[in-house]
Symmetry: C2
Subunit: 208 residues, 2 copies
């Protein structure tokens, strides 16, 4: 499997968003120029990124939208559904349990875990919540490979250690806490405070 | 006010996280090397980033933790609280309304807005929810400058237009939809699907 650069991978969901909107509007084909405008990415980059999907940009016609959507989803493995566990059923964790969009992005959260007694054995947005103590045995039994961390930052490393010990191969970390993992384990961060930092500073710099 | 580079700004919250943990552990000072290890950022970069705060790295002592925390918070304007409006009180929006951490990051969400009748005039996690139709008049009256968008992506531009028309200067966009704004308006994205794309692909590339 070709290794696609991280920067390209991060832009593919944007193209997917644009393509799905065009498809809903009834279009069948679209030029790289149009994708470039809607996704706010330079044309050269759009062409380069989309080359990884194997789809062809037919002169004077552009990309076939439906085929390109499928090709991007295949690149991201989003056409296939992977079961995943989430640890930390607070406000953010609960929201993630109920987030409908994950289904179209190949992710199915099948269980939540917490150490708070009033949450254990409840059902949040249709997903059962268990004790963190059950994580290991359940993950092994169900062969879970993806784990989401949405605990307070100071517990992130602890949870990551449990996950890795339980056979998790990819960790999606929603805390700003950097976690240490052995080679071969994939970690991705959704660091909302990084973008809040930029927003806050830029606003302070431009007090208009 | 000095313009701090975006890459530095994005790392400042990580340092803040590390420093707060060290402070809770009872430490008074810390070296750049230690921050580098905990934040997983190269030492040279740590020193360069922290130089923007104006705090001194005293030889053989390091940075004074409490002072450095305050200096970073001042850089990000997180010591000051800005009122902000959120549009889109679905799963994610509700979670954001209840997110305690914003208070320490200078952000106070004072109202939510939605167009769903069963949400309007309710209170979610202590925050009142109004009709989107009231956004303009309320934002003008309360002089709101920050808006959070957590609607479905296809409505993001529409909501952004309302926000800009109502005097909002900085938009924090939680949808993957790129939005067009006039010069001078700040937009920051929390694009969780960009990181999910990287995670999904890397996992597919390493089927171990």
């Amino acid at each position: 499997m070709t290794k696609i650069p991280t920067s390209t991978l991060k832009r593919l969901p944007q193209y997917l968003e644009v393509l799905n909107q065009l498809r809903r509007a009834g279009l069948k084909a679209v030029s790289a120029t149009k994708i470039s405008v809607f996704a706010d990415v330079h044309q050269t980059l759009v062409r380069k990124d989309l080359a990884f999907t194997g789809e062809e940009n037919v002169p004077k016609q552009g990309y076939r939208i439906l085929e390109l959507i499928k090709a991007i989803e295949e690149c991201l493995n989003w056409n296939d559904t992977s079961p995943c566990y989430l640890v930390g059923v607070g406000h953010l964790g609960s929201a993630l349990l109920g987030y409908q969009e994950f289904a179209q992005k190949g992710l199915s959260i099948v269980a939540g875990f917490d150490n708070e007694p009033r949450l254990i054995d409840t059902v949040v947005h249709g997903i059962p919540v268990y004790s963190v103590l059950d994580f290991h045995a359940m993950a092994k039994r169900q062969d879970i490979r993806i784990g989401i961390i949405s605990v307070p930052p100071e517990s992130a490393q602890f949870v990551a250690d449990i996950m890795i010990h339980s056979g998790i191969k990819a960790i999606w970390n929603f805390t700003p806490q950097k976690i240490q993992v052995p080679a071969g384990i994939i970690v991705e961060y959704v660091d909302m405070f990084a973008s809040l930092a930029v927003l806050s500073r830029r606003l302070a710099e431009n007090p208009s």
